[in-house]
């Protein structure tokens, strides 16, 4: 009897210790996000009260944002579209370029492939913020400033190295026999690529496509350097511009921010299976 009592007590104390870690972790994780959400559902005058739940929660802020009824929001839908277009274009281009390169390096064993892989890895390890100013000047030299293609190309430049590396790792793990069998059947390199390679690495393509799309959607630094027209900028830049005004309508800023943060969170959870295994396992090879 006593023994089981002690075991029970010990289990309860383990549980309590775990809760003692879990609760602070939960609060720490959600605090800024919940604060943003509170602002979004609070009327303008009561947003600063410090209450845990507003007295009169409202969706009015969302209405104002969606109907673009504030000076800062005149181009909301256009900027949302810009963000979406740039993210999708980055995703598509990154996938195209990186899949080809990874196939050439890993399956076709092209000469110099190893060197290209090293160059790509080197690019991956240059902190993006350090490349930002040179990239800005470069885009100026090419006459691409203020064109959305400058941001797309910059994002592709940053996303492809990691994409190539992950796809190369994935393809290295495919059995060689598949290629041999295809070659025996007289397949050309491009047939091998289309019919054997692409279907096999499809899960990694989902992970990499998502990675590139989120990278571009979330980007702030390059976006605000490379784009400046109100109709050309992406949502994060618009949010940043919001801030520079003295009378910033915080509740609208937080509402817009909340809308902007939803798609990546949703995409992340939708593709969580691919993302966690595909990206974290790939990020650090032990």
């Amino acid at each position: 009897m006593r023994e089981s009592h002690i075991a029970l007590l010990r289990a309860a104390s383990t549980e309590a210790k775990l809760l003692l870690i879990g609760i602070p972790v939960l609060v720490w994780t959600l605090l800024p996000i919940y604060h943003m959400f509170l602002f979004a559902i609070s009327p303008k005058d009561s947003a600063f009260s410090g209450k845990l739940w507003p007295d009169h929660p409202t969706l009015r802020n969302f209405g104002i944002v969606f109907r673009q009824e504030h000076y800062f929001l005149h181009h909301f839908w256009e900027q949302l579209w810009n963000s979406l277009f740039i993210a999708l274009a980055t995703g598509a281009l990154t996938l195209t370029i990186a899949t080809g390169a990874a196939f050439a390096i890993s399956r076709l064993k092209v000469k110099g492939g190893r060197t290209v892989m090293n160059l790509a890895l080197f690019t991956y390890f240059i902190p993006a913020a350090f490349l930002a100013v040179p990239m800005y000047r470069t885009m100026g030299v090419y006459g691409l400033l203020n064109s959305q293609w400058s941001l797309i190309i910059a994002m592709v430049t940053i996303a492809t190295p990691y994409a190539i590396w992950v796809l190369k790792q994935t393809s290295d793990n495919l059995p060689v026999e598949l290629d041999e069998a295809a070659v025996m059947d007289g397949a050309s390199p491009m047939q091998l690529f289309r019919l054997v390679y692409l279907p096999l690495i499809a899960p990694a393509l989902v992970a990499i496509g998502t990675y590139a799309i989120l990278l571009a959607w979330n980007e702030y630094l390059y976006a605000f350097l490379l784009l400046s027209k109100d109709t050309a900028i992406t949502l994060p830049v618009a949010l940043g511009n919001f801030l520079s005004a003295d009378d910033s309508p915080w509740e609208l800023l937080m509402t817009t921010g909340f809308v902007y943060a939803l798609p990546p969170a949703a995409i992340y959870y939708a593709f969580r299976r691919y993302m966690v295994s595909g990206l974290t396992a790939g990020a650090v090879k032990s």
């Binding site: 775990l18 879990g22 972790v25 959600l30 800024p32 604060h35 943003m36 602002f39 600063f48 195209t96 080809g100 390169a101 050439a104 076709l108 064993k109 092209v110 000469k111 492939g113 190893r114 290209v116 090293n118 160059l119 890895l121 080197f122 690019t123 240059i126 902190p127 913020a129 350090f130 490349l131 930002a132 100013v133 040179p134 990239m135 470069t138 190309i153 910059a154 430049t157 060689v176 290629d179 041999e180 390199p189 979330n218 702030y220 630094l221 949010l239 940043g240 915080w250 800023l253 937080m254 902007y260 943060a261 990546p264 969170a265 974290t280 396992a281 990020a283 650090v284 090879k285 032990s286």
Partner: protein, 292 residues
Amino acid sequence: MASAVTLTEPESSVAADGARWLTPWQFWGIVLLIPYLIIFTFFVIYPIAYGFWTARHPHTYVALVQDPIFVRSVINTFLFLAIGINIKMFIALLLSGFFVQARWWIKWLSVLFILPWAVPSIPTILSLRFMLNPEWGVVNTLIFRFTGEDGPNWLNDPAIGLTMAVAVHIWKSLPFWTLILISGRLAISADLYEAASVDGATNTQKFKYVTWPSLRTLYLTCTILSMIFTLGDFNSVYLLTGGGPADLTHVLATLGIRYLRIDQVDMSMAAIVIALPAILPLVFYMMKRLAR
């Protein structure tokens, strides 16, 4: 058939190279590499060369070293890295041990725990910035309600501002490193723990003799990789303090933008060139680890 041999034997003899050259395989290999090489040449090589060219004059470096804001940024960057990364990796190590516990609620918590990493930086950092606003922010409102006194002017104090930027950085990237360390822990064979339990090992002993030896290399790699990523963390500082007050909270990642704003592009480039001796060894170490 020759092409099949090429595929299966990448390390075939040099003599075969002549014959391999411009087989359909090599041809398509080159064609498929060209798009990336174009991107690399025009948007990596050219900007880097341009940067070095802009920062070629020695007097730029003299001016840079004499600029107190640059010196301050270097110190800030060092503190940011030394404190931020070690605290972050240590918490990640502890939390990875927490998250591998099999409980239904820990599974749910781990799903929520990813949020900071999954959502974009700017809305959440701005949200924190509002929380810390000295007049209207929720933090000072609560301090006033409970103590009747005004709270500190959070982001207008360089020390608190930088500390908060470190906290934002940890908040944002902790989930990622925790996930990696979790996968590291899950890769350790359960047999080892069972054997340790049979021998009557305590939890501390299990960590010391089973977990840590297996995680050590991964932990070191993560720390170095995190240093490289953290050096480029522009958002945590720029969106929270904007480098202020009086340019006292800049780090190297935000300094470049500051010099660009005041039209001193050469200083902006020189600040990066000067940092290269510290960064390149880390980069080459990581390349060696990942290129295998």
